[in-house]
C-alpha cells in the first residue's frame, strides 16, 4: 500500500507540473485519476519482478556530464566508426543492487555520445566506444 501511495504522489505531481494554470478542477482531476494509475504502476513493477536498490554514491558518475557532453560531441561528430566493444566486470553485489547498477550505468554511460552500453549480463556490461579518448565513466561504474 505504501508503494501505491508513493506512485500516487509522483503521478499527481507529474500532472500538476504540466498544467497551464492551477485550477480546482485540474487539481481534482489529478488527485482522482492518479489513483488507478498508481495501482497500475505497482502492477507493472510486479509483472517485471522489478526490484531496484540504487546507491546514492552513484550520483558521482554524472558529475562530469555537462563538460563531457560537449567535448565528446565534438570528438565524435567527425567519426564514422566502427568503434570497439569492451567488457567491464561489475562488482559482486546482492541482486537488487546489481540490477540497479546496470540500469543507472546504462543511462550514465549512454548519456555521453562517445560510449553506449551494448549488452548487460549477470556480472558484466559490454560497452561500445566510438571516440578515441577513454571515458572514465565505465571504469567508475565497474568499481
Amino acid at each position: 500500500m505504501r508503494e501505491v501511495a508513493a506512485w500516487w504522489v509522483v503521478l499527481t505531481g507529474f500532472w500538476l507540473l504540466t498544467v497551464s494554470s492551477m485550477q480546482a478542477e485540474e487539481v481534482a482531476a489529478a488527485v482522482v485519476l492518479a489513483v488507478p494509475c498508481a495501482f497500475a504502476a505497482r502492477a507493472a513493477r510486479q509483472a517485471m519482478d522489478g526490484a531496484w536498490r540504487p546507491r546514492p554514491g552513484w550520483a558521482r558518475w554524472f558529475r562530469r556530464l555537462p563538460v563531457a557532453a560537449v567535448t565528446e560531441t565534438v570528438a565524435v561528430l567527425g567519426r564514422r566508426g566502427p568503434g570497439k566493444l569492451e567488457d567491464f566486470d561489475l562488482p559482486d553485489e546482492p541482486g537488487p543492487v546489481s540490477e540497479a547498477r546496470k540500469g543507472v550505468s546504462t543511462v550514465a554511460i549512454g548519456l555521453t555520445p562517445g560510449t553506449l552500453v551494448a549488452r548487460t549480463a549477470e556480472r558484466k556490461i559490454t560497452v561500445h566506444r566510438l571516440s578515441l579518448r577513454r571515458s572514465p565513466v565505465p571504469d567508475e561504474v565497474s568499481r
Binding site: 507540473l17 494554470s21 565524435v76 564514422r80 568503434g83 566493444l85 555520445p113 553506449l116 559490454t126 566510438l130
Partner: protein
C-alpha cells in the same frame, strides 16, 4: 526572439543537424546509434534552455524543461536496447 534565447536555440539546432548528418554517414549500426545522444543530451537541453529564457519562469517553462529532461533520459535507454538487439544477432 531576443539574443539570449536565439543563441542556445540555434546552437542546439546546429548540434541536432550535425548529429543527423553524422548518423547518415556512419558505417555500422552500433556507430550509428552513438549519434542519437548529441541530439538528446546536448541539442535538446540547449533548445530547451533557449525556450525557457524566452518564456521566463512559469508553468509552461517547467513543462518544457521536463520534456527535454525526459528526452535526454530516454535516449540512452533506447540506444542501449537497440544495441542489445544487434549484439545478440
Amino acid at each position: 526572439m531576443n539574443v539570449f534565447a536565439a543563441v542556445p536555440v540555434f546552437a542546439g539546432v546546429a548540434v541536432v543537424i550535425a548529429a543527423a548528418v553524422a548518423m547518415l554517414r556512419a558505417r555500422d549500426l552500433l556507430s550509428r546509434l552513438h549519434f542519437l545522444t548529441p541530439a538528446t543530451t546536448l541539442g535538446g537541453p540547449l533548445i530547451g534552455l533557449g525556450l525557457v529564457v524566452a518564456n521566463g519562469w512559469n508553468l509552461g517553462s517547467a513543462t518544457i524543461a521536463l520534456t527535454v529532461v525526459l528526452l535526454a533520459l530516454t535516449g540512452p535507454v533506447l540506444q542501449s536496447a537497440t544495441a542489445h538487439l544487434k549484439v545478440e544477432q
